[in-house]
C-alpha cells in the first residue's frame, strides 16, 4: 500500500487545496479471522513492535488491537523525556540503543516526531545524591555513553531559572547532564509508527478490547475480543498498565503493580528554559514549543486503574518545583491528567516469554517507557519473529525474578520512589 510521502511539497500542495485532500494516515479494516501475530495494545511499544516486525523481519500478517483508540494510553499522557542515563550495563545498552534511534526517527518514519535533543539536567541536592550521580556518571562513561558532571555555575548557565544560592531550601550542589537526551511530540510517535506499519500491511484495529485467550495444550491459539474471536500463531501483550488484567486471563501473575502517575501543564509563557530539568526531591519539567511548562510527578502511593491522581501530590510537586525554580511561583496551571503505569518490582522492563507458549510480553516500563519505544519494539520484534530473545533484552526476561538477577534501577529511574 504505497502512501504519499509527507514533505514540504505535499504540505504546500495541500495548503493550496485548503487541506481538504489529505488522505487517512492508516486504514481501519475489519479484523481478519486469523493473523500470524496479534499485538495487544496500540501504544508506543505495540506500534513500534508491529513496525519492526514488518520492516526488519518481513512479517506483515500482523494486527495491532486496542480497546480504545490508537495512541490514547500512556504514550499520549507522558512528559516525553528521552534519555539513557541509567545505572546498570543491561539498562544502559537497551536505553541507549533506543536513544540513538530517536535521533533518526522522523526520517525513518517520514513523520515529524519533533525530537528535540535539548539535554537532560539532573540536579544534585545532597551528599547521597552526589554519590549516586557520580556512580551513574562513571557507569555511563565506562559504557561509552555521554554524560557530564556540572558545577552549580554550569547549571546556572544552562538553566538560569534554577536557584543555586547556598541558602536555598534544596541547595544545588551540581548536576549530571546528558546532551543527547531531550523531548519529543508524544502523539507523533504513535501516529508515525502506526502510519509506517500500516503502509507495510499491518492492520490497526481500534475499539477491540481483548477479553480473553484461547489456549489449547498450553499454547495460545488466538484472542477473544469484543469484536469476536481472532486466531493467531503468536500473541504479544503490550498493554502497559493493564498487563496484570490480561495476565490473569491467561492464567499467570507478574511482578507488577499498576499505579497512576500524573502530569500537568501550565499556561504558555515566553521561552525561558531550553533544557529538561529533573530533581530527585522530586519533580521534572521542560518547556514545550508552545511555551507551556510540562511538569512530571512521581507515582501515586497506591494501586490504581483510575487515570486520575490526587491533589496532595500536585501540591507537593508544585512546592518542590517552586523551591528550586522560584520564578515559577506565579505560573497558572491549565490541565492535569494521569496514566495507569505497570511498575515492576525492580522498575525495569519485563520482555520475553510467558508461561503460555506462543505468548510474549513486553511490559513493566512503568514510569519511563516513552524513551524506550524505538529500541523496545526493535528488540521485541526480533523475539517474536525468531522465538529467541534479542541479546539486548535477554537480561530482562520474567525468569530473572526466580533467578534473583534483578536490575534495580530505582535510583537512576529518576528518584528514590519510582519516577520517570
Amino acid at each position: 500500500m504505497p502512501r504519499p510521502r509527507y514533505s514540504i511539497f505535499s504540505l504546500a500542495r495541500n495548503a493550496l487545496a485548503y487541506h481538504q485532500n489529505w488522505t487517512e494516515a492508516w486504514r481501519s479494516p475489519a479484523p481478519k479471522p486469523h493473523y500470524k501475530v496479534i499485538i495487544v495494545g496500540a501504544g508506543g511499544h505495540g506500534l513500534s513492535t508491529a513496525y519492526y516486525l514488518a520492516k526488519e523481519h518481513g512479517i506483515t500478517d500482523v494486527a495491532v488491537l486496542d480497546k480504545g483508540w490508537l495512541g490514547g494510553g500512556n504514550v499520549a499522557r507522558n512528559t516525553t523525556i528521552v534519555r539513557s542515563d541509567y545505572l546498570f550495563g543491561e539498562s544502559i545498552a537497551l536505553y541507549d540503543k533506543s536513544l540513538s534511534m530517536w535521533h533518526d526517527l522522523s526520517r525513518e518514519l517520514n513523520f515529524n516526531t519533533m525530537f528535540s535533543p535539548r539535554g537532560i539536567v539532573k540536579l544534585i541536592h545532597n551528599r547521597d545524591g552526589q554519590r549516586e550521580a557520580e556512580r551513574r556518571f562513571n557507569a555511563l562513561r565506562l559504557a561509552g555513553v555521554d554524560s557530564e558532571m556540572l558545577t552549580p555555575l554550569q547549571v546556572k548557565r544552562l538553566a538560569p531559572m534554577v536557584d543555586i544560592s547556598p541558602g536555598a531550601a534544596h541547595p544545588v550542589l551540581g548536576a549530571t547532564l546528558q546532551r543527547r537526551g531531550g523531548i519529543a511530540r508524544h502523539d507523533a510517535v504513535a501516529w508515525g509508527y502506526a502510519r509506517a506499519a500500516d503502509a507495510l500491511g499491518v492492520d490497526m484495529i481500534q475499539h477491540c478490547e481483548v477479553t480473553g485467550f484461547r489456549i489449547e495444550g498450553g499454547r495460545v491459539k488466538g484472542v477473544e475480543t469484543v469484536q469476536g474471536f481472532i486466531g493467531a500463531d503468536a500473541v504479544a501483550l503490550v498493554p502497559a498498565g493493564h498487563v496484570g488484567v490480561l495476565a490473569a486471563k491467561a492464567g499467570f501473575r507478574l511482578p507488577i503493580e499498576s499505579v497512576t502517575m500524573q502530569a500537568m501543564v501550565s499556561e504558555p509563557v515566553k521561552p525561558c528554559l531550553d533544557t529538561v530539568v529533573m530533581s530527585p526531591i522530586p519533580f521534572s519539567l521542560s518547556q514545550s514549543d508552545k511555551g507551556e511548562f510540562v511538569f512530571g510527578m512521581s507515582t501515586e502511593p497506591y494501586n490504581s486503574y483510575s487515570q486520575r491522581g490526587t491533589l496532595p501530590h500536585i501540591e507537593e510537586i508544585s512546592a518542590n518545583a517552586v523551591s528550586v525554580l522560584p520564578g515559577l511561583s506565579r505560573l497558572r496551571m491549565l490541565r492535569k491528567w494521569g496514566g495507569v503505569l505497570d511498575v515492576s518490582r525492580d522498575v525495569s522492563p519485563i520482555m520475553g516469554r510467558t508461561p503460555v507458549e506462543g505468548m510474549y510480553v513486553n511490559c513493566g516500563w512503568g514510569t519511563g517507557g516513552f524513551k524506550s519505544i524505538p529500541g523496545s519494539g526493535w528488540a521485541f520484534s526480533h523475539m517474536i519473529a525468531q522465538d529467541r530473545p534479542h541479546d539486548l533484552m535477554l537480561p530482562f526476561g520474567l525468569d530473572r525474578f526466580a533467578a534473583g538477577a534483578l536490575i534495580d534501577e530505582h535510583a537512576a529511574s529518576g528518584s528514590f520512589e519510582a519516577f520517570k
Partner: protein, 101 residues
Amino acid sequence: MLLIECPFCGPRAEVEFRCSGEGHIARPETPENISDEAWADYVYMRTNPKGLHFERWMHQHGCRRWFCVARDTVTHKIRAIYKLGEAKPALDEPKTEGEGA
C-alpha cells in the same frame, strides 16, 4: 483525597497513611524446602486486580499501627476496613470491566 477510618484513631486524611500493597500474603512456612519459583512467587508476584483489592495500610503519621483495607482500584472506594489477622470480608466484585481506558 480519601478519608480513611483508622481502626484505632478514627477518620483521618489520606496523607497521614501509607499503603503497603497487597495483603494476606503468607510467608512460606519452610522457605528452605521450596523452589526458587515458589519463593519468587511469594516475594515478587502480585495479583494486581482491576477492582476489589485487599491491602495493608499503616497510620504512619498517627498511631503507626497496621490494618487491612478492602478498596476498589478503579473508583478508590473503600469497601471495608478490618484488623490484621482477620479473614478477608466477603464482598462482591464491583462491575468495573470496560471502565476507564
